[in-house]
Point group: C2
Chain length 432, copies 2
C-alpha cells in the first residue's frame, strides 16, 4: 500500500506520521513544494519581532529526520501539479509521476495577493519562510517609519505589534466593519481603543483595491503588509474532481475523506464542521491542521477515526494583550438562525494584592436551548486558560446555569474566588 | 419573614446577600462571633508573606456596608450558642434570643488543635485574622530560624513558601503517606522533590501527637505551625438535631437544606456532592462556600435552586509553582469502586522561544466508561487555566477520545499547538 501526502507542513506531516504509527508497513511519501517541511508558520511574526533568533528555530524536523526515524520519504522542492485519480497517481512539476493507493491532500492556504501592485519590493506578505526573511531584511536594513497593514485578522493584528516593536507608526485597513472576521462590535471597539494607545490606527470598512509604494488610500507609508484573505489552496484538488464546499475549501466527511474514495484532505485546504451549528466552516488554524492531519493519516492507514469538528477557538496577542474567541458572536449566531443573548463583564482576574488586571469575558447563549454558543476573553493574563474553559463548555453543549456552577480553581496568586467566567455567567442568567 | 444567618464569612454573607436580592422584604440578620465579617481567609498566607500590606486589605465589606447598601443587619462579636428549632429561635452568648422563620448555618471549619501542647506561644495556627497578626508579629519580632509545619495540605504547603520567604529552614510533617489529602504518589513525589530544592523537608507518614517548644519529633525548631485537619464546626448544629453525614459535616439536600425544614447549611460546615461519584464529600474551599451560600440564600428566600456539586478543583502555589488537582486520583477512584487508568506527561506549555516551562499533566479515566474522572496539573504557568479545562471536562462527563479533540487556543505567546492536556489525552487513549 502506497500513501502519498501532498504538503509537508502541519497537516501533511501529522497525517504521514500518524499513518506510519498505525501501519508500519505502509510506503509513505510526502511531496512539499517549498524548501523546508515541518516549520511553524505561526512563529513568523515572532521571528520578525526578534523573539525567535533564527528561522531555523522554527523548523521542528528535517526531511532526514523523517526518513531515518519514521521511514517516511519527504521530498522538498517537489510540486505536485496534477492528480489523476483514475490512474491513482500524481504528476510532479519535473515530469515525474508517483503512484498511490491512498492520498492525503494538505495543500494549505495562502494570503490574497490579488490586490493591484502587490508585487512591488516595498510590499510584503507573510506566508513563507522566504517572506519572513525578506521582510526582516527590509525592517532592519531600510528602517521604515510608517507602515500600512491590509487586513485586521489575526496576522494583521500580530503584524501591528511586530511593527510597533520596530518603532513604526501603523495604520491597519480592514474591509469589514469588524476585526478578526468576528462581527462583534464590542470586541472591535475594545481592540480599536487598545490599538490607539499604541499609536496603531484601525480603519474599518475600507477595502484596499490597489497598493502603491509610498501611499495607500491616502495614508503615506514606507511599506505595506498584505495580511488579508486567507484562501484555501484548492486548485490542484478541484482540477482532479475533488469537490469543494460552499466555503470554497475542500468538502470532507467526518473521516476527513473527500468525495473520491481513498483521497483525504486535511488542514488549511479543508472545511471542518462547526460544533455549534453542525455546518461546515472554513477556519484555517494550526491546531485544526494538526488534528485533522492526524485523523486523515489514521484513516488513510485503514483505521476508522472521526474528527468531531471545531469550536472555532482562536487567540492572538495584540500589543501585549491576549484576545481570544470561541464559538459564535451574536451577529454570527443570528445569521445561523439562532436567537442569541449576550452578556459582557470586566472583572479582575486576581486579587488586588496580586496586581490582578481586569479581564473582559463576553458570553453568548442561545435563548431557546440556554446553551453557551460563543465567548470572547480579553486580558493580559489568563485569556488562553479562560477561552479554553469556554471552548470546553461549548463543545459539551453546556447550559448557562451549569456554567455558572463550574468548580473552577481558586487561590489568590492565580484567581479570584468568583472567576470572571462565573460572573459573566451570572450576568447572562439574568438575561435568559 | 425573618432570616437568620449564623456566620458572616464567605458562605454566610453570600447567603444573606443573595436572599436579599431574591426577596427585598425579608428581615435578614447575620450573627458573626468574630470581630470582622467578609474577610478573605485565603489571603492570610499572603499577608504573612508581605504581599498583602495590611489585614484590613483582606476585609472586603464592613457590617456598616451591609446595613446601608443591602439592608442586612450584621452583628459581629455575637456568638450563637444554641438553636431551638421547635421555637424557631437562636440563643446568643449574651443571653439574647433571636427568632427566625428560615435559618442558614454557615459556621465554617477550624483546624485541629487537639495536639498536645498546642497552646504554647511559639505554636501557631492560621484560621483567623488574630492568628495571622500574632504569627506575623512573631516572624518579624523574633526572627525564628527553623520551623516545623504539621500538615501537608494546601495551608501547610502555602505556609512552607511563606516561611521560606522569611528565610526559615522548614520541615513539614504529614500523617498520611501523601500530600494534599490526595493519595497520589506521583504528585507527592513531584512535590517532595520541588520542596527539597527550596530546603523544605517533607516527612510523610509521621503523625505528630504532641508538640513542645524547641523540638517536634526530634526536629529542633523555633516555631511550629499547626496546619492539619480542617474539621467542620458542627457542634451547634448537631446539638439542635441537624443531621451530620458520614464525613462528619452537615448533610444537605441539593437545595442546601438540612433535615430540618427551613434550615439550610452552606460552606465549610456542610457536605457537597462529588460530581464524579455522586456521593457526599467534605471539601472545604472558598469557592464552594460562596456558591453553596448563594444557593442556600436563594432557597431560604423562597426560590428553588440547586447546587449540582463539586469536581473537587483546588490549586495551591508551592514555592513558585502552581499545583492543581480536580476529580479523583487513581487510588481514590479505586476506593470508590471505579476502574481507573492513568497517564502522565511533561511537556512545554509554550514554544522554546517564548521560554515555555514544562507543565505536568496527569489524567485519570474510568476504564469502563472511558470518562475523565481526575486530573493533576503542575506548572509555573497556566496550571489554573488547564485544571479548569479539565474540571469542565469532568463536570461534563467527557470521554478521553473527546477530550483529545478539544479545540484549545493556540498562538506562540500563549500555548503550544498541542497543549499538554491533549498530549496527555493521547497518552491515556493508548492505555484504554
Amino acid at each position: 500500500m502506497r500513501l502519498v501526502v501532498i504538503g509537508g507542513i502541519a497537516a501533511g506531516l501529522s497525517a504521514a506520521a500518524r499513518a506510519r504509527r498505525c501501519d508500519p508497513s505502509l510506503d509513505i511519501t510526502v511531496f512539499e513544494k517549498g524548501p523546508a517541511v515541518a516549520w511553524g508558520a505561526c512563529g513568523l511574526p515572532y521571528y520578525l519581532e526578534g523573539q525567535v533568533r533564527s528561522l531555523d528555530d522554527l523548523v521542528v524536523y528535517t526531511p532526514e529526520y523523517f526518513r531515518r526515524e519514521r521511514n517516511i520519504a519527504v521530498r522538498t522542492g517537489c510540486e505536485v501539479v496534477a492528480i489523476s485519480h483514475s490512474r491513482r497517481q500524481v504528476a510532479l512539476a519535473n515530469g515525474e509521476r508517483a503512484p498511490y493507493d491512498r492520498l492525503v491532500v494538505a495543500t494549505g492556504a495562502r494570503l490574497d495577493r490579488s490586490i493591484d501592485g502587490a508585487g512591488h519590493p516595498d510590499i510584503f506578505t507573510l506566508s513563507t519562510l522566504e517572506d519572513a526573511r525578506r521582510l526582516r531584511c527590509f525592517l532592519v536594513g531600510k528602517k521604515p517609519r510608517r507602515a500600512v497593514i491590509v487586513g485586521a485578522g489575526y496576522l494583521g493584528l500580530e503584524m501591528a505589534e511586530v511593527l510597533r516593536t520596530h518603532g513604526l507608526v501603523v495604520t491597519i485597513f480592514e474591509a469589514a466593519r469588524d476585526v478578526l472576521g468576528r462581527q462583534d462590535p464590542a470586541l472591535t471597539d475594545a481592540l480599536r481603543k487598545h490599538l490607539e494607545r499604541f499609536r496603531v490606527e484601525l480603519r474599518l470598512a475600507t477595502r484596499v483595491e490597489s497598493v502603491e509604494p509610498g501611499c495607500v488610500a491616502g495614508v503615506p507609508c514606507d511599506m505595506v503588509v498584505l495580511a488579508a484573505g486567507w484562501r484555501p489552496s484548492v486548485e490542484l484538488a478541484a482540477e482532479a474532481g475533488i469537490q469543494l464546499g460552499r466555503t470554497g475549501a475542500i468538502r470532507v466527511s467526518e473521516r476527513m475523506e473527500t468525495n473520491l474514495a481513498g483521497v483525504f484532505a486535511a488542514g488549511d485546504c479543508a472545511e471542518a464542521i462547526h460544533l455549534v451549528t453542525g455546518r461546515p466552516v472554513y477556519l484555517p488554524l494550526g491546531t485544526t491542521a494538526n488534528k485533522t492531519g492526524r485523523v486523515a493519516g489514521a484513516n488513510a492507514a485503514g483505521r476508522r477515526e472521526r474528527f468531531p469538528g471545531v469550536a472555532g477557538t482562536c487567540i492572538v496577542r495584540v500589543c501585549g494583550v491576549g484576545v481570544a474567541t470561541t464559538g459564535l458572536s451574536e451577529a454570527q449566531a443570528r445569521k445561523e438562525g439562532l436567537d442569541p443573548v449576550g452578556a459582557r463583564v470586566e472583572a479582575p482576574g486576581k486579587p488586588r494584592y496580586f496586581h490582578g488586571e481586569p479581564v473582559t469575558v463576553a458570553l453568548v447563549a442561545d435563548r431557546g436551548t440556554r446553551r453557551l454558543i460563543g465567548a470572547t476573553v480579553i486580558g493580559s493574563e489568563g485569556a488562553a486558560g479562560r477561552i479554553n474553559v469556554l471552548a470546553t463548555a461549548i463543545t459539551n453543549r453546556m447550559r448557562v446555569e451549569d456554567l455558572e456552577q463550574l468548580d473552577l480553581a481558586y487561590a489568590p496568586p492565580f484567581a479570584q474566588v468568583w472567576d470572571p467566567i462565573l460572573i459573566a455567567a451570572q450576568q447572562l442568567m439574568k438575561c435568559l
